[in-house]
Structures are given as C-alpha cells and as structure tokens.
Chain length 153, copies 2
C-alpha cells in the first residue's frame, strides 16, 4: 500500500472532518457499529469496520508497471504488506480495503485530514511512495474524500 497521499494543502485548508453536519433524518440509517478491525484479520479479504461518518477515505487507484523485474516485484509485495502493518499503527487509522484485478484499488480510512498528513509524512512511507513512482506503478490516481454516510448488509 505505497499510497503517495499528498494531502498537505487539503489538510491546511480544512483541519477537521467534524464540521460536516448530519441531518436528523439520518438517525435511523444503518451504520457499522464495530469501531476497529481486529489486528489479526487480513486487510485484503475484509470489509473495513469503520465508525459512524464523517471520516475520510483515501482512494488510491493504480496500474502496475509491466516492465518491473522479479526482484522489484518481490520488493513491492513486501513493502505493500509492511505499509499495511505500519498504517495500522498510525493515529487516526480506521481501516483499509484492497483489491487488484489488473487495476489495483486501495481505500484507506482515516479519522481526519491531519491523520492522513501524518501518515503521508512517515519516513518509511515516504520511501515507499518514491519507489512506487520510480519502479512499481505506470499510473496512479489518489483521491482524498470525506465520507458523509455509509451503510452495510
């Protein structure tokens, strides 16, 4: 999960996710009640158990570089796993969901923009982002989004 979330400007322009108001008509909306995923669950096969909105999503969509060498691919796998472990230790981390099927989509969830900025600036994560740009990805898009509501089956 080498997500190069460059959110500093967004973070400086809106420091909190708590300013979004929920209408009273949403009081009966089904929401997730579990606050956190257990540490031992695989992040790749689970739906993130996030708290009641508002909170933030970082949607990272990528295409892998098809000219990557075997050793670079191995390094990518190790780094991706390490980034998931590291992200879980960060303040404001709420969960992650990831799938790759040609296109890769990783959505990480965060309490607020400062939490995303803090993770973005983590030293190990910075190195992973640089490797992602230089070696692993042929294209990517990162979107920072405020989750206003959610519901589950």
């Amino acid at each position: 999960m080498a997500d190069p979330e460059d959110n500093e400007k967004a973070a400086s322009s809106q420091e909190s996710a708590t300013s979004t108001k929920r209408s009273s008509s949403e009081a009966d909306t089904p929401v997730n009640t579990k606050k956190h995923r257990p540490k031992d669950e695989s992040p790749d096969e689970q739906i993130a158990q996030t708290p009641r909105p508002p909170y933030y999503a970082v949607i990272f969509t990528s295409l892998r570089n098809t000219t990557t060498t075997t050793s670079e691919t191995e390094a990518y796998g190790k780094t991706a796993q390490r980034m998931v472990e590291l992200a879980r230790q960060q303040p404001g981390y709420l969960g992650v969901e990831s799938a790759r099927d040609g296109l890769g989509i990783t959505v990480s969830y965060w309490k607020d923009l400062p939490s995303i900025r803090h993770w973005k600036q983590n030293c190990e994560h910075v190195q992973a982002q640089e490797n992602g740009i230089q070696k692993w990805y042929s294209a990517y898009t990162t979107r920072i989004a405020l989750v206003e509501r959610d519901y589950s089956m």
Copy 2:
C-alpha cells in the same frame, strides 16, 4: 456493478457538491484534465479520468456469496456488465473503477448527490440491487464520499 447506493437521505440533506470551497493554495495541484473516459475503454482496467474536484465517489466494497450457483454467478457477471453500461448513460456519471481479489471494490464517480440518487432509482438498477442482496453478496458496505482533491501520475 450492482451497487445498492441508498443515498436518498444524503441527497435530501445536501443537494449539491459545489458548496465545498477550494483554497487558492490548491491552484497548482496536479489534477486530471480529461473530462470523460472514452466509451470503448474497459472500465475494469482503467483509472477513471474525472474532472477537477469537488465531485462524489460511491465506494462499494463487497464479499461474494460463496454458495452462489453457477447460473447465479453467470447472471451476476451479465448484470455487472450491464450495470456498467447503464451507469455510463446516466446524467452526472463521471467514471468507474473496479477490482476483485477476494474482496471486491467498485468506486463510481458522480457529479453530485442528485445524480447518485437518480442512478439509485433506475428501474433496472433497483432489480440488480435486490438480486445482489438476495443472491450474490454475503456482505457489502457502501460509502458516499465527497472527493475534495485528487492528483495523478
């Protein structure tokens, strides 16, 4: 893409995505410049080319029902493809990204909340949502999120 986006309450409580202000410091932020993906590109292997934020994302994360019969799985595949084609014809549609790797993640992008509500209420889509709940998915979460910024490589 049988996404049961039940966004009516969100749509009624906030009718427009245009209320989010961008700070002047974001003027030099890299953004996607292509407004729309060509109709003949595969939605499963492309990064959506969305306009400048703000716009909306519907993040649909799902786990497939492992007891689904072969005919139900075939019907799912056909319906998923049909829903992508149908979504593209809707007003306010901006793009879609999809990947499945155990966990399935589909992110569709929309101009505003009324566009999402309109798509949610499409007759064919309503039927697909019901089939998704009854046959295809063992679990899903849908999140409605306002994309505040994005950038690409």
